[in-house]
């Protein structure tokens, strides 16, 4: 039983890492390899806030989310839009955005290094046990899990039940057709990208409660997010959510019942298996 709860908590952690990239790649169609750095920046922002003010780090979300939103909008406008304009096909845009965001990630690492330094940043918050069915679980992880649920639920509802969300999904399915039905495609893509960045920063902020960060850690998170987004099927946000939880449960099961050393292997075996059985991902649609 505690495998299930621990696995769900880990799934929540993974969902926080993956949601931002899901929006940026699934909707805005930008494979943002600098996603991990945005997440780390969010974590750093929260660390700085907590060390400076000693108020609950959760309050830092109040300024981090709008800040990340604006910053990512600016990045999209200045650095990505030229690529979008001149891309002759979806495939070319993906290649261009991979190269461009790869370079951007190095700039970000340099920026984080210059502002925060290279050392490990870590703090203790809500590091108390909460007993569920007799087993202790970290309150900080449960808080992050709740944050993840709130995030995933609100994103899902927004994307599927509002007009603006509908516009974003239309752009994801077919940008040119979406333009024909008077959806402002450039604006929708920018919105998706900026929203993805804000979500990534919020994820990093929540994760900082129990993970140790340093300026160079972004690439680890980008990789995990990438695996989850592709495993879930790029086009549907539910796919990434389901994939996060499957991964969390699988890794915890292997760590507890088999060997903790095999968690990475298990994760990638699962990834490969799903792609072999269903190449477009769990909830992906085969592109026409």
């Amino acid at each position: 039983m505690d495998i299930i709860i621990t696995g769900l908590l880990l799934g929540g952690t993974y969902a926080l890492m993956a949601m931002g990239l899901q929006l940026q790649y699934g909707v805005a169609r930008i494979m943002n390899l600098a996603n991990g750095e945005i997440l780390v920046a969010g974590a750093f922002g929260t660390f700085w806030f907590y060390s400076a003010t000693k108020f609950s780090p959760l309050y830092s979300l109040i300024f981090l989310i709008p800040l990340a939103f604006v910053a990512n909008w600016a990045i999209y406008d200045v650095l990505i839009r030229p690529l979008v304009r001149r891309a002759k096909s979806q495939g070319q845009l993906e290649v261009d955005s991979i190269l461009a965001t790869f370079g951007i990630s190095f700039i970000f690492v340099g920026g984080l290094l210059a502002v925060f330094g290279g050392e490990y940043l870590s703090y203790s918050y809500l590091a108390r046990p909460i007993f569920i069915l007799g087993e202790p679980y970290g309150l900080n992880r449960i808080a992050a899990f709740i944050g993840a649920i709130v995030l995933c639920a609100s994103l899902y509802i927004w994307l599927h039940k509002t007009r603006a969300g509908l516009a974003l999904r239309a752009v994801a399915v077919n940008p040119s057709a979406a333009g024909l039905v008077s959806i402002n495609v450039p604006r929708a893509s920018a919105l998706a990208f900026a929203l993805g960045g804000a979500v990534a920063a919020a994820g990093g902020s929540l994760l900082s409660m129990f993970l140790t960060f340093d300026a160079s850690l972004g690439v680890v998170f980008t990789l995990k997010a990438l695996v989850i987004v592709i495993m879930g099927g790029v086009s549907d946000i539910r796919g990434a959510i389901i994939a996060s939880f499957i991964l969390g449960l699988a890794e915890t099961t292997v760590a507890t019942l088999v060997d903790p050393g095999l968690t990475l292997a298990a994760a990638y075996v699962l990834f490969l298996a799903i792609l072999l059985i269903k190449p477009e991902g769990l909830l992906g649609r085969r592109s026409s």
Binding site: L9, Y120, S122, D214, A215, E251, T256, P260, G261
Partner: protein, 398 residues
């Protein structure tokens, strides 16, 4: 009138010329090459343990006018490169420092594999390699192969051996039982320590009740800690790296792994460890440790004042001592002749921040290997060679 103008001009010219010559003699700085990971997986550790010591040394030396050579005093200039935690980059950087920047001395790299990678280049250009972040059991063969190599840290086996010795003493004094839970990170140093320690535990008569490894960068260590707790150990040993060292203690507290002896290897000696955990860090054991002397406390104080970085309780003072050895050797020889300086280092012992440093056989014979947080200082409780050690406390404070 023309002659007077000519004379004035000539006099002015002589004065200007002598001033100009004087300016040229306000000598060129001594160039010191620095390489290490500013980005990449090992950057976190290097930011605390490696880079600040060189900046501190530069400031201390330059503040007193520079190193005293026979030709006069010359200040130090640092030329730094980021090796991105990649040995090929370290090699490139050292080659560049040696052949393009033509520096007078090159500081050691950060990390055992990295120092090994550049040892041949140091040897080729006669640079002494004072390898601090370098823990290996192959020291004896390496110093034969590289006469310019000085191994300042201990051997891997000392770290394992002394940690186990601390636990054995507690057990023999009936303060803890016989059951050990051991975990290790599945990366270089973690694996080496775990493999070296396993037979040592058995030889000391311990019963290993949980023995697992976890991949580098694991985000959730609760299955490991739960598993360790379920095995009911008397002591917990983690051959861990910085991120997991931080995560494991927090997880241990949450899971209620209330062992009387808790050891986590790398980063326990960081001040940020005590900073994060506060009173929970008290009585935690780890790799490193210092004797509580005024010289060391002083070094940690100016380290913070000059560089803004909190020194650690493992490598920082050792780096400081190494740099003192280099400084005394360069001034002892009176020139930047690298062969002469290397010979000088092998010729005598040196007074340094950590006490007497004896590198005459190219290997430090003394190393503090096990430390314990007591009252805000990470005291040395286990060592090879050093004898002034603090007694070990039980971790009854959870």
């Amino acid at each position: 009138m023309q002659r007077r103008t000519l004379l004035t001009l000539a006099a002015a010219g002589v004065v200007a010329g002598s001033l100009g010559l004087g300016a040229a003699h306000a000598a060129d700085p001594i160039k010191i090459g620095v390489v290490g990971p500013k980005t990449g997986p090992l950057a976190g550790g290097a930011t605390i343990t490696h880079f600040p010591n060189f900046k501190l040394w530069q400031k201390l030396v330059n503040d007193r006018g520079g190193l005293k050579l026979k030709e006069g005093q010359r200040k130090i200039e640092l030329i730094e490169y980021d090796d991105r935690t990649s040995p090929p980059e370290t090699i490139k950087a050292v080659e560049r420092l040696a052949t393009v920047d033509k520096v007078d001395f090159i500081m050691p790299a950060y990390g055992t594999g990295f120092n090994l990678a550049v040892a041949p280049i140091f040897a080729k250009h006669d640079y002494p390699l004072l390898a601090q972040a370098f823990v290996t059991d192959q020291g004896d063969e390496l110093i034969k192969r590289y006469p310019n190599l000085f191994v300042v840290q201990g051997k891997t086996q000392w770290f394992a051996r002394d940690a186990i010795a601390v636990l054995k003493k507690l057990r023999d004094e009936k303060k803890i039982g016989n059951k050990i839970a051991v975990v290790n990170v599945a990366d270089a140093f973690g694996i080496e320590l775990a493999n070296t320690a396993r037979p040592m535990f058995k030889e000391a008569g311990f019963d290993i009740v949980y023995d697992k490894s976890y991949p580098l960068g694991t985000q959730d260590l609760s299955p490991i800690v739960k598993g360790a707790k379920a095995a009911n150990p008397d002591a917990f040993v983690a051959w861990s790296y910085p991120p997991d060292t931080f995560a494991l203690l927090e997880q241990a507290k949450i899971e209620g792994l209330n062992v009387k002896a808790y050891y986590s290897a790398v980063a326990t000696a960081f001040q940020s460890f005590a900073g994060k955990f506060g009173p929970l860090a008290e009585n935690v054991l780890g790799a490193g440790g210092y004797e509580d002397t005024p010289a060391i406390r002083d070094y940690m104080k100016i380290h913070k004042e000059v560089t803004g970085v909190d020194a650690d309780y493992w490598g920082s003072a050792m780096y400081g001592s190494l740099l003192q050895v280099l400084e005394q050797s360069i001034e002892g020889v009176g020139s930047l002749d690298r062969k002469a300086v290397t010979a000088y280092i092998k010729s005598k012992t040196f007074k340094t921040v950590v006490g007497e440093m004896d590198l005459r056989k190219q290997q430090m014979t003394n190393a503090w290997t096990v430390g314990q947080w007591q009252n805000g200082f990470f005291h040395a409780v286990g060592a090879e060679g050093f004898t002034k050690l603090k007694p070990v406390n039980l971790k009854t404070n959870w």
